[in-house]
Structures are given as structure tokens and as C-alpha cells.
């Protein structure tokens, strides 16, 4: 692995309580990981709830999962992975003091994130039309004409619609919580794009870019697990 060292950063950005820029950067990195540890456990609680009910009501979760569009889920995963690549490239551009490339990559990351949310919104709309949103209007018919025969539960299999509703409650809670994190990330990216355009970042100071990158990649990791658990259970 080839690793090159950046030139000595200027010290204008170093706050008086830090020895040097490196100590300041590592302090920020450490703090960000503490925050991400709380996020891991925050999402972990929902994942744990999912695991318990998936274990208890396997047939219903499979029946519910079959109503999700695997193709849209796959495309969205690819969109999100690509946004992580552009975010990583943005960090590289900041480290090498290339302002144009930095703004361009941050903008691409923001647009890919928005595209992800657009597809998600389309999926939500579709679920609303199919009456699969939990609540008074929820209606699950095990053998529906909308769903291919191969994806329907076997005729003799008993599927309790109430537990399918539970699957969709978890689906909306988990993807909704994830989408909320995406919206926050997009807001932060917008602020960074403006600051980067004004030349706020360089090889000597790019802490906000790196920290936003850590957050963005974390949100990507959450989706890496949500996708197979919600869309791909058979």
C-alpha cells in the first residue's frame, strides 16, 4: 500500500489547547468515533428488535419481504455505495488541496444521496398505494394478483396479517430512521459545499470533510445490513 505524507500543514487552524494539527485532528476523529459508537447502538436496538421478531415470525417476515422491490433496493444500494466512493474522493481532493475536485465530489455525493431518497420516496408511495403502511388502512392479502405466484406463500401455509404488519412497522421504522440520517447528511454536505467553494479547506485543514465522510460512510454501513435483512429474505 502506497501512502504519501501531506506537506506540513499551516498552524492557523490549530486551537490554542492543542499541541499541533495532528493532535487536533486525532481528537476530532476520536470524538467522531465516540458519536458513531452511540449511533451503532442506536440502530443496534432496532436491529435487535427486528432479529427477535424475525426469529418468532419467520413466515410472515418472508411474506412481507416479498412485497418489497428487490430491483429498486439493489439499484439504491449501488447508488449509496457510489456516493461513499465520491465522499472518499472528496476527502482525497481536500487532502491534496484541489478545490474544484472537492466541490465536484461533495456535490456528486449530495446528488447521489438525494437520488437514493427519491427512489425511497417512490417505494414508500407504492407501499401506501398497496395499503401496506401499518395503521388502520393496512390490508395484507396473502395471495394477491399483484405478486408473482413464485413469491406468494404456499397455499397451506398460515400467514398472520398482523405479524406481516409488524414486518412493515419495522421496515418503515428502520428505513425511515436511515432516511432521516441521509437528510441530515445532505444538509451537512450543502454547508460544506458552500464553505469548500470559498476555499475553507486544504491539505492543512480538512477535518470537517473527514468527519462528514465518517458519518456518511456509517450511514452507508447501516444500509449494507438493512438491504439484505429487509429485501432479500426468502
Amino acid at each position: 500500500m502506497e501512502i504519501t505524507a501531506a506537506p506540513m500543514p499551516d498552524t492557523r487552524h490549530v486551537a490554542h489547547h492543542f499541541d499541533d494539527a495532528e493532535q487536533q485532528f486525532v481528537a476530532a476523529e476520536l470524538g467522531m468515533w465516540v458519536f458513531l459508537a452511540t449511533e451503532v447502538l442506536f440502530f443496534g436496538g432496532v436491529f435487535c428488535g427486528y432479529a427477535i421478531y424475525r426469529f418468532k415470525y419467520a413466515a410472515e417476515f418472508i411474506a412481507g419481504s416479498h412485497r418489497l422491490d428487490v430491483w429498486l433496493g439493489t439499484v439504491n444500494t449501488a447508488v449509496l455505495l457510489t456516493s461513499s466512493l465520491t465522499m472518499a474522493l472528496a476527502v482525497h481532493a481536500a487532502q491534496t488541496s484541489r478545490r474544484g475536485a472537492l466541490v465536484r465530489n461533495l456535490l456528486l455525493t449530495l446528488l447521489l444521496g438525494a437520488a437514493f431518497l427519491g427512489v425511497k420516496g417512490y417505494e414508500y408511495h407504492h407501499k401506501f398505494e398497496e395499503r401496506l403502511v401499518p395503521g388502520r388502512n393496512f390490508r395484507f392479502v396473502a395471495h394477491s394478483a399483484h405478486v408473482p405466484e413464485s413469491l406468494q406463500p404456499a397455499k397451506e401455509e398460515k400467514v398472520d396479517p398482523r405479524q406481516v404488519e409488524l414486518f412493515f412497522s419495522l421496515y418503515f421504522a428502520m428505513t425511515g430512521l436511515h432516511a432521516l440520517h441521509m437528510i441530515i447528511g445532505i444538509g451537512v454536505l450543502a454547508v460544506l459545499i458552500v464553505a469548500a467553494g470559498r476555499g475553507a479547506f486544504s491539505g492543512g485543514y480538512f477535518t470537517p470533510i473527514e468527519m462528514t465522510g465518517l458519518y456518511w460512510h456509517f450511514v452507508d454501513i447501516v444500509w449494507v445490513f438493512l438491504f439484505p435483512l429487509l429485501y432479500l429474505i426468502r
Binding site: V40, V224, P228, L229, L232
Partner: protein, 92 residues
Amino acid sequence: MSFHIVPRSTYFKVFAALVLLLVVTVLAAKVPLGVFNTPIALSIGLVKATLIVLYFMHVRYSPPLVRVFAAGGFLWLAIMFALTFSDVLTRH
């Protein structure tokens, strides 16, 4: 003082691996393997997450203290799952 600059080629290689693993997950889900489908999907997810943490999130190049903190969150997550399922799986 040196910030580690990960070369762009590394990012592209990791991205290619992630997309490849995504395709593998989707295809593996189509093969009926019974109880093994979910462990396989989760294992692939774990590999993807590890690649993201090590390269995109630069933990591979971070100081040891940062690495310990990064591992800490996942350690507590493992404890939460272990204790929860030691209860759920042993109930009658």
C-alpha cells in the same frame, strides 16, 4: 505531522469489491439454501462493512486509540445481541 493520504486507486478497488459483493448478495439470495441464506447474506454484509470501515473510514491508517474506539461500538452491539438472544432463545 503527517496526514495519511489514501491513493485514489485504493478507493476505486474497494468500490469495485463492494459492488461485486452486492451482486453476489443478490444472486445468493435467489439460491434456496434454507437456513443458510441469512448467515451468508450477513457474512457478505460484514465483509462490506469491514472494507468500508478500514479503507473509506481510514481506520486501517488511524492511531490505535481511534481503532479501539471504533471497535468499541461494535463490541457493545455484540454484547446486546448475545444477552438478548441468550434470553429469547431459551424461553419456552
